[in-house]
Amino acid sequence: MEKYLYIALFAPLVSSLFSALFTAQKKKQFVGVIASLLIFTAFASSTVLLVHILNGGEPIHVTLMTWMATGGLNIPFGFVVDEVSVVMMMVVTLVSTVVHIYSNGYMDHDKSFNRFFAWLSAFVFSMMVLVMSDNYAGLFIGWEGVGLCSWGLIGFWYNKESATWAANEAFIMNRIADLGMLIGLFLVYWNTGTLQYEEAFAAFPGLDHATLVWIGIFLFIGAMGKSAQFPLHTWLADAMEGPTPVSALIHAATMVTAGVYLVIRSHPLYDLIPNVGLFIASLGAFVAIFAASMALVNRDMKRIIAYSTLSQLGYMFAAAGLGAYWVALFHLMAHAFFKALLFLGAGNVMHAMHDELDPFKMGALKEKMKWTWIMMTIASFALAGVFPLAGFYSKDAILEVGFVEHHYIIYTVLLVTAGLTAFYSFRLVALIFHGEDRYTLFGIHPHEAYKFMLWAMSPLLILAIIAGAFQHTFFELVEEALNAVHYHIHSHVTLWIMIIGTQAFVLASIFYAYKKYARKGIKVPDGTSETEQSFLYKLLYNQYYIPYFYDEYFVKPYRELSSIFWKKVDLKVVDATVDGIAKVLYSTGSATRGMQSGNLSTMLRWMVVGLVVLLMIAVAVGLAARYSAELSQFLAGLGV
């Protein structure tokens, strides 16, 4: 079994290194094919491991080698495949396989085709390290690795100013959060003397409460950065500058869920500090509705989906914070499937529309792109949580958790969010695929994506439909690892009212969205209508002015400060000192250059001068040595 672990872990690395060989060359189709095959190998190995664990096999634990061993610190390169990591491995490898195959078509005309696969596979490798590591240090390496690859892929089209800006924003925001995470890791090591999960978790109950709270908070700050929780959320929407397959893989299905994974993985810690857990759940619920509200009015297809990702991550944190780790993990898995599907569908639309992102400029695409329409509609139904699709099972479970745990405010917020989710998802679908065509005005001739891209997406489609059926299997799988319990609402009547009420609410939202946006006569908004003039619309459209606020109160003062340091300190002190030394040497050189006239006679004269000087020094030293006693007496008389 260890063999499969190694294959799953290192096949993506091999793929990345292989693709990296060709980065400087023109597009080579075989690079994409081989990369996809290698990622598929990793997927196949993960499947074998999943079957092994499902059949009640022991978790597989290997230690590759010692990484650091100094004094009391001993960190091995250890990897573990247990119930939690195997689920993550499946999600990561499955979505990456789909995205790799899809990218063969999507990046078809890109001149950096080979480089794209090198980065994408490197990302998969980092993600595998993150989820498979058996200690916090290894997790941190993967954590930084995915951050780096995310930077490289958001800024993939680096000659676009906005792309490099977004890449740097994502990277810097993550660094800020990673500082919190590092402090958390230091605290863990400081107090338990180890970073191995098992040993640290065993030591946690012995620590005092305040220490545990600090560890929990700092680790969660790291999770907030990676999972783009408020107030570090702005990077995720800007990250949509990257190619769409990247958005599907990294900024929807895998990397952004790493924060949720961290909380789930550290559940023995968060079980001990329910007050921090409640904070996490409240923040999650807040982010869920906060992001959903911004998605309501946005006019950028990819940003709408990005906000919905943010909102769903809020759901996951709400569940994890309330102690329902298995529900969070289940929603993570289901969300990965339908959100990746939604993004890849959006990629098809973007291709068809020549990178146009405003859904108001589309309309009636369902005739031209039948399969994309079907896939995106089903993915949106799953996202909205309509029975019997995947989202229904996972999202409904989260709502039940909120209800059963008596956190009615969280429950209500999440319920309202479910309605908003349904509305904005179908606002998007209605605007893109229904109504009358508004694209011919802009001279666009849409066409469906390549057949094989649609085929590549089909596993996600199937899983988005049927993933809910695995809820029970999933529960049994992680029951022991996550102390999972069923959340039962005791009264059957209440349960049915809840389920039917939620469904009715969601369906009504969908219906309203269709009615409002699928009709004829939708105009491309030009900022003159009454809605667009209203305060609320402006507030939401400008993302609550948070990016503006950050720019005004963090970026600009920082830039001012940097400019002061540059002009006052660097130029006037540091540079002046260095330049001064150079100038002294240079002017000495040019002043004495005249000596080297090349005339033998002059040189001989200088030689004589040197001789005389040396003689004088020799005589002076000789005299000083001879009369040293008298000299010191004389100096003492002067008081030296």
């Binding site: 250059r593 000596m595 080297q596 006239s597 090349g598 005339n599 033998l600 006679s601 004589v608």
Partner: protein
């Protein structure tokens, strides 16, 4: 008047001064060679005189070495000088400044 060590040393110093002056002032390469010969021989006189004064032959031996080296130096130097003269038709030092700083 008995001629003693001091007389020799004064003679050597005078000759060294003449040689040094010649080295600094002469523009003719041949004259420069003469000046260096005077310098070397002034030192030889000093060696020989002090050697005699201390009744130690080391100084005189050293003088012989200096004579031998001076002879070979002149041989090489004159050879170069002749080649130079054939090429440039001049042995003026001021015209020899090729390596200018």
């Amino acid at each position: 008047m008995e001629i003693g060590l001091n007389h020799y040393l004064v003679l050597a110093t005078i000759l060294f001064g003449i040689g040094l002056y010649g080295v600094m002032r002469r523009k003719n390469l041949l004259m420069l060679f003469f000046a260096t010969e005077i310098l070397l021989n002034s030192v030889n006189i000093g060696f020989a005189a002090i050697s005699h004064y201390y009744a130690d032959l080391t100084g005189q031996m050293f003088a012989f070495f200096v004579i031998a080296i001076a002879a070979s130096e002149v041989a090489v130097g004159l050879g170069l000088l002749i080649v130079w003269y054939k090429r440039h038709n001049s042995i003026d030092l001021d015209e020899m400044s090729v390596m200018r700083g």
